[in-house]
Symmetry: D3
Subunit: 239 residues, 6 copies
């Protein structure tokens, strides 16, 4: 029995509210159970120096967590004067995930920055960030199409992410904080709606896991992301 009472292959309730940020070219507030992340996409008409004259666009991400998104208040990274290794790892992951489904040639030399800020945390914040950021990115591209800056949305497909883990020897989908902190192993899967793998990050801090177990986690992740792709599409239809 999971702490939340969910079945092993059940996602938490998902909701994606578009337009939460008033000024951003694209934005949404994604909720997965008690985890809430505000994702905004900001367009800039230039690329970073290392990309100039490449003909390619740039998509990158920044991630943050409000100090009291968690059970006990964490230090504000701006006050500490640096971002943690965890923060940097996550924002690099979000950026890579979105670039994997973006046609950067069709996009042309512009930059889009996805800001993913966690308002409430209950596990799975990096996965929710990726799933929500794809919606914000899509909305920003649609905005650019409406403004006649782009002819079509330069996205090759959808990308979404979910975490799976081994809890008391059982593979479960979409870990919340209570499960995550006690899991023997957990893995984040970033998958596309065409069935492709974009990123896999599997970690066994407690004890190594087997290939068979890993396969179970991947199967759950495919199931979970299928539902997330539907939620993304539904949000865009409304938005």
């Amino acid at each position: 029995m999971r702490p939340s009472g969910r079945a092993t292959d059940a996602l938490r309730d998902v909701s994606i509210t578009t337009g939460f940020a008033h000024h951003a070219e694209g934005s949404c507030l994604i909720r997965m159970g008690g985890t809430e992340v505000l994702c905004t996409a900001s367009v800039e008409a230039k690329v970073p120096p290392f990309m100039r004259n490449s003909g390619l666009g740039w998509v990158t991400a920044e991630y943050g967590m409000l100090p009291r998104a968690t059970h006990t208040r964490g230090d504000r990274e701006a006050a500490r004067g640096k971002q943690s290794g965890r923060t940097q790892e996550i924002q690099r992951l979000i950026g890579r995930s979105l670039r994997a489904v973006t046609d950067r040639t069709a996009m042309g030399e512009m930059s889009i920055t996805l800001d993913c800020d966690v308002l409430n945390a209950d596990g799975g914040t990096r996965c929710a960030s990726i799933t929500g950021a794809w919606v914000a990115l899509n909305l920003a591209f649609r905005h650019l199409v409406r403004m006649n800056v782009l002819k079509a949305v330069p996205l090759i497909g959808q990308v979404a992410a979910v975490s799976c883990g081994l809890v008391d020897g059982t593979a479960v989908l979409d870990l919340d904080y209570a499960e995550d902190s006690g899991a023997e192993a957990d893995a984040n899967f970033v998958l596309t709606d065409a069935g492709g793998i974009v990123e896999i990050q599997g970690t066994a801090e407690k004890a190594p896991f087997t290939e068979a177990q890993f396969q179970e986690l991947l199967t759950l992740a495919k199931l979970g992301t299928t539902r997330l792709f539907a939620a993304q599409r539904a949000a865009l239809e409304v938005g």
Copy 2:
């Protein structure tokens, strides 16, 4: 005629939604027109070193703005590695304002940190932060009373803040961004429900103003905060 169509002495629509942050001892999302600030109060059972053995509690604040709370994306302070002078000035102001209505002796040696994070900015973010932070602080104290940590809420009164300014020679209440950026002078007033003055910050970057003009701004501020005190009380009744 103001850009928003408001009368010179009209506040923007105010709403205060309590409990927005799931884990904080007290929290609210305050909206003043297009400005939205998430205020959380976090309790810690100790005071900073310079306060130890004083018998007094400590109330402090941190302030932040999400990168895309504004028209164009701003740098993330955590990524830049330091907080701006503006940020520090604001968080010091919020802290002083709340301490002015807190009975720190009755509170005993504990600390409460108010985090005010701007989700959407349309002028007046520091004032909205103070008004919302008082609600979050009150809720945190009520929580401590329920937990039998405190006997009563150690607040001497209510505190709220509003900005007023001279726009095209006219004194107006509660400036939004469009007005603020063109004002000849503006002032932030932090007042108590008992009619006391906690903080006044008046600034004339364009041209000095007169005593009579200053008096007009103060009169508007008293009017505005009276309404904010009512909104605070209404939010607490629901919360």
Copy 3:
């Protein structure tokens, strides 16, 4: 009775010695009682990026305190690797105050930086910095007139600052450290010789104050700055 034996409306002894810094285009050492601040004005033939092609000049300030300007030695900000919130708040205030009396169009695209470094501190360092910085700025403009860079000194008027406060319920002028640390409320007033208000920063950390009390403080401030304007003019006649 005030600790210094002064009347409630008496300034401390003021002296302004011009030319203290050998290399600066304008400089003075201002003494207000035991507070001594070295103010220098440095001219640069360009403006910061955000001002380019605006046709306007730029006036800004930096503030510092020598580690042993105070009773007990403070950390050197350069060694700590960052400026405190208080330092940033003060240098922003000095810059705004001087810009309010500068005709930046007549000045043309150049920058002047006012460095205000406290050699000895006994209360009122930010106010002494503003009063002294105006003299240094004036001297730098005179230098530019002599060099035929400017046709006339582009200053609209004089600006000076003084602090007033409520000590044991009485409004007093020009607080020294002994009074400042025990005041119920204190306010810094930045005024012009034409009777205009440039900045008001009133703070009640102990208890809110009334409008009537605030009015008393403002009356004292007008009295005090009248004397400071005379001291500024006298220093320039000698300089």
Copy 4:
């Protein structure tokens, strides 16, 4: 045909020279082709604050690259004043990998820090770091056994790492820099000699990959690490 002329399932030449650092409790210089990493293990008789009184030991890692380990000189991180996100990601990975095979209860409350410094880089530096760090850690534990601090080496097994990737559609083992920079996808596998999976980091920046491709990479990784386990054992016999 691979740039190096190797077969798709061939590792580069591996050598592990123990005792390279004179003062460390354990150390080795690991070479995988043109990649050379100096790994040292430093023992300290205490654990970090968050581990105190847990009865458990702590194993952590730091990673660095000499400025001219690469084709063109990189900035020195100490001079820039911060470690990159990549550096932090790698050192977190090394630490987790070693903790997964350490019996931290048997180790008792002490800390071991693995420093992995890249002297020459030709791809696969994080994998070489893990493989070499295990040898350094083992040597440090043997030293502690000889000193009668520990009764036995508290390692549950061997851990080693290798990267695999898809280059021109073909799965290849142990990418060097020339291959890595052009790969469609690459994955780092951290495996144990008992066949367990400790970490998997698979990334497709160019295009998503399939489950079948991922399976091929994992098969190569198992082959490669088998040889690395033998190299580790051989080095320890000599050392």
Copy 5:
């Protein structure tokens, strides 16, 4: 002919005014020609962690230059967020020089920090700092004797410093900025009144110099410091 018209073996005018800083246990303003340095000594009743329970006292120094002490304004180190290598080198030198003449056993476990802040710079600021810091240190020790904290001033002798250099092939004493910037070589000598050498820092950025030339510089330095020792004693008699 030297730019200043001085003979090759002539010091600039020296003056040492004690008590310039109101709060410090010892202080002086030292002037050597156009160079002016404010030196303060601050006593603290404890030593840094690495000195605890050694029975020895600690003497250390910090050095700074006001932004407009120089011909063109330099960045404020506090604003840049770090001290330059030059600053750190100088403050280490000052600290070592003073420790060399302090009986740290007689001093007991206390710390004295010498702050040397350059108000006006015209060459030789590090040497003036050392010469002035010794006076400030002596005054602080005398204060501690008067307070019955120490029985006697724990100084073994006097220490003073002067720079010498090769300018157009000629050895000259006490370089000012005009000479320093064009010298072929320059050397700073820190000497004691007993004829001992505490520090020598000789540098030939343009071309190597000979032993004979070095000997000439040393001879000049002994001459110059003899006069500085007299100036130190004279200042203390007045002070």
Copy 6:
């Protein structure tokens, strides 16, 4: 008797292995007894901003020590976020020493950065860095001659460095760590093969030393560097 059993005028065993870094234009690993420093020279086709259009080249250095080069592990400077004063002092010394023997006019507008990274430390690391860096610089210049970028190696002569010190009243050559930590005085000499003095840094933290003692140290240094010049030449013949 010295701890190492060496005669007072004996260097430690010296070896210089060229080509240790695979990618650098010039490199060597220099060993002086237990001290090992990896020196690399990196060429860049531009000079820093302050040198542009001067027609001169630029030679600079950076210095680092691996965390476990020493008996007990030191903090990683990249992790601490800043370089120590000692590090900065050393890298400035290395840069000046090499510039003193470089014909920067013949070199033309290019930069060469010497990275000196200590792999194992047993005293004298800054001297070994200078001696090794000269070899790396020479090799880089030879590379540029082979590439037809330069016509000839723009070096005026050889430069090498050695430390000497007073240990128990006796002058000894080339201090190792055991001697260095107990020396009454020590001095680093940077000399040229033509008998010129480039840098002298003599320090007496324990007690001042005499001119005669200083002369003894200089005599030893000339003897020692003569042997180091031979080792440099021998390494280049092989390299």
